[in-house]
């Protein structure tokens, strides 16, 4: 059958069973392009080409063997038991957004565009397009966008980027051998497996090309794709620049204290240009807090959150970043200097 676009139909829709009686016109003319695409072989190269076309700056495909020993609550196979690999994608955050924060000129654009738009809109649309390509080839695509407001059972940390986080404390496994839901993969480990990044001292995933100025998403699939080599060496050389740069002293040699970070991320430090004399007026701990000397935990951080109301949260509950991401900027400068960053 030749459809009205002049394309020969070779897919299932052209069979008698799916054709209107007395008609040679297949029922689904408008879907020709996709139906033809489904027959194409899915290769790693095709995936990478499409990812680049759709806006990903980096793309890598990782073997799941590298997750051996990983907690089931973080394991890709807990999501798709017959998964073969994980595909990772990175989207750069424009350097200008960091520069404007460093110059105390604008902070909200970083949160709104660099974080919220990237994770909640751009990455989602991107993932749906990539997922459709994979499912057109007959393989499942389990999309993994960032999960900003949830913590897996037992994870007492928070995500400084959102107004608060919710631990799924009551979750139980549905069957023996399965983890309690939700399973949320470790993006740092996934990036490393895909050969596109590795976790730094500050907890941020560092790209060899873009340093910490990048957002990430992944697809777990049963497609048998050729995989990339994982990153053998960490991008982070533990120089400690991020530790020194954080105004809230939230980073130590052991990593990031997420509750401490959450307080200073949203502007508790005196370097926040939106802070006035009225902030915590009369509070005996004011000086200690605005100098970044007070230590916060989940309880004390949540008490202070309502007072850190310098700018509105964005949609989806992203808190405005008013620390200026000094840790990331310091890290980026270090990587540029020491490793002749490609960008």
């Amino acid at each position: 059958l030749i459809n009205r676009f002049g394309i020969e139909e070779s897919h299932g829709n052209s069979t008698d069973k799916n054709t209107k009686k007395g008609s040679v016109v297949p029922r689904y003319l408008p879907r020709i392009k996709r139906c033809l695409r489904k027959m194409t072989e899915l290769t790693s190269q095709l995936i990478k080409e499409r990812a680049e076309k759709l806006g990903a700056a980096v793309c890598g495909i990782g073997k799941l063997e590298l997750f051996e020993g990983e907690s089931l609550q973080r394991h890709p196979k807990s999501i798709l038991p017959n998964a073969n690999c994980i595909i990772g994608f990175g989207f750069p955050i424009p350097k200008g957004l960091y520069l404007s924060m460093e110059r105390n000129a604008s902070f909200y654009s970083y949160t709104n565009l660099g974080v919220k738009y990237n994770d909640e809109e751009f990455a989602e649309i991107f993932l749906l397009k990539m997922g459709a390509m994979i499912e057109d080839a007959g393989y499942d695509a389990c999309l993994q966008k960032s999960v900003p407001n949830l913590r897996i059972k037992g994870d007492k940390q928070t995500n400084p980027e959102v107004k608060d986080t919710y631990e799924l404390v009551h979750a139980v496994p549905v069957e023996d051998g399965k983890p309690a839901p939700d399973v949320i993969i470790d993006f740092g480990k996934a990036a490393q497996a895909c050969g596109i990044g590795s976790p730094g001292l500050s907890g941020r995933i560092l790209s060899p090309r873009y340093g910490p100025f990048m957002r990430w998403c992944f697809i777990i699939t049963d497609a048998p794709l050729a995989c990339d080599e994982p990153l053998e060496n960490s991008v982070c050389d533990r120089c400690g620049e991020c530790i020194r740069a954080c105004p809230g002293r939230a980073i130590g040699v052991d990593g990031l204290d997420t509750w401490q970070c959450a307080v200073y991320y949203r502007g508790a430090h005196k370097s926040n240009p939106l802070m006035s004399e009225e902030f915590l007026r009369g509070d005996p701990e004011r000086e200690e807090i605005i100098n970044g000397e007070k230590r916060f935990d989940a309880v004390s951080a949540r008490v202070l959150f309502p007072k850190l109301n310098f700018l509105p949260n964005t949609h989806w509950g992203y808190a405005p970043c008013l620390c200026g991401k000094k840790c990331d900027i310091a890290c980026y400068k270090h990587l540029m200097k020491e490793k002749s960053n490609e960008r």
């Binding site: 408008p30 879907r31 996709r34 139906c35 397009k129 499912e135 966008k145």
Partner: protein
């Protein structure tokens, strides 16, 4: 222009495009209130990726279905396609009225949309005219209605969401389905953990809402063993055997909160759209879906907690 619409719709991620002449609709249909000049209704169908249903199927993750399969499609992808195609039509000199679902607004006084927070719905809003989406989808040739009222299409079965554009441009219609997918097997009826679908396919939306959000403990890994401890019929509720009429449903919905907000007032589907996955598995097994996968969606019996897990003694109350 028809070809241009199809091309742009595909470019904006629509999987299925169908056209219905306005003459297929009764004269009292809302489309004529929305746009009296309407000559064609254009339907754009978007697949929900099969992988999005994998989390609830395995019982290991619930976040990605609601965010990627519902919220992102309804609030980002489909509106983008609607606006771009509408602008194309208007550039060609015709009127285009894009129509999407408004999940928080309904004309009914006492109904509910299971996908959103009950208390955020504006009811009895008759002045805001809304199309009958399922009927329009059938008339546009996007698919046929299954027993439980869900649109089924050849490629994706029930895994589809859709939007419409009303236009005064006269465009050639797409053939309407001759129903051939739903064989009234009843898998959707059996699949619902809250028994919200009657044998004849009628869906009790209140019952559906309560169980969509996780009232059935047998299919909810976030429910405590002593959930609903103060209710005499707690085991019936947890087993999905209780009949929850609107007032009771409101009471239960007010206390159900197994999972955090998913944005845009959407709540997580704890039932995992069990009716749709049961329907999909049946259609896949029959071999009638044209979108083939290398592996079947379901290869073993779905998981389920025993009701005994929720039997508690009085001291636990």
């Amino acid at each position: 222009m028809r070809d241009k619409i199809i091309e742009l719709a595909h470019e904006t991620e629509a999987d299925i495009i169908g056209f219905s002449p306005a003459s297929r609709f009764n004269r009292d249909d809302p489309i004529f209130t929305l746009l009296p000049e309407v000559k064609t209704v254009i339907g754009l169908g978007f697949r929900v990726l099969r992988g999005s249903y994998r989390g609830p199927e395995e019982g290991t993750t619930y976040y990605q279905y609601t965010t990627m399969g519902v919220e992102c499609l309804e609030e980002t992808v489909m509106p983008m396609a609607l606006m771009r195609v509408s602008n194309l039509i208007e550039k060609e000199g015709h009127i285009a009225l894009p129509q999407r679902r408004h999940p928080l607004i309904m004309a009914e006084e006492n109904s509910i949309n299971p996908e959103v927070y009950d208390t955020r719905i504006y009811r009895n809003v008759t002045a805001e005219c809304q199309m009958n989406f399922e009927d329009a989808a059938v008339k546009c040739g996007l698919g046929e209605l299954g027993l439980h009222g869900k649109l089924l299409c050849d490629e994706f079965g029930p895994f589809l969401r859709y939007v419409f554009i009303l236009t005064d441009a006269p465009l050639e219609g797409t053939p309407v389905y001759e129903p051939h997918l739903c064989d009234r097997c009843g898998e959707c009826v059996k699949g619902c953990p809250g028994h919200a679908i009657a044998a004849d396919g009628t869906v009790d939306k209140w019952q559906c809402a309560v169980y969509y959000k996780g009232a059935c403990g047998l299919k909810n890994p976030f429910m405590l063993p002593n959930e609903f401890a103060d209710l005499e019929d707690r085991i019936e509720i947890i087993a999905g055997d209780a009949q929850v009429f609107p007032e009771r449903a409101r009471e239960l919905l007010a206390r159900i909160g197994f999972y955090p907000d998913c944005g845009h007032s959407y709540t997580a589907s704890i039932c995992g759209r069990a009716c749709d996955t049961a329907c999909y598995c049946h259609l896949e097994k029959k071999g009638v879906l044209t979108k083939k996968f290398h592996f079947p969606f379901r290869e073993r019996e779905p998981w389920k907690f025993p009701v005994e897990d929720f039997i508690i003694s009085k001291k636990d109350v």
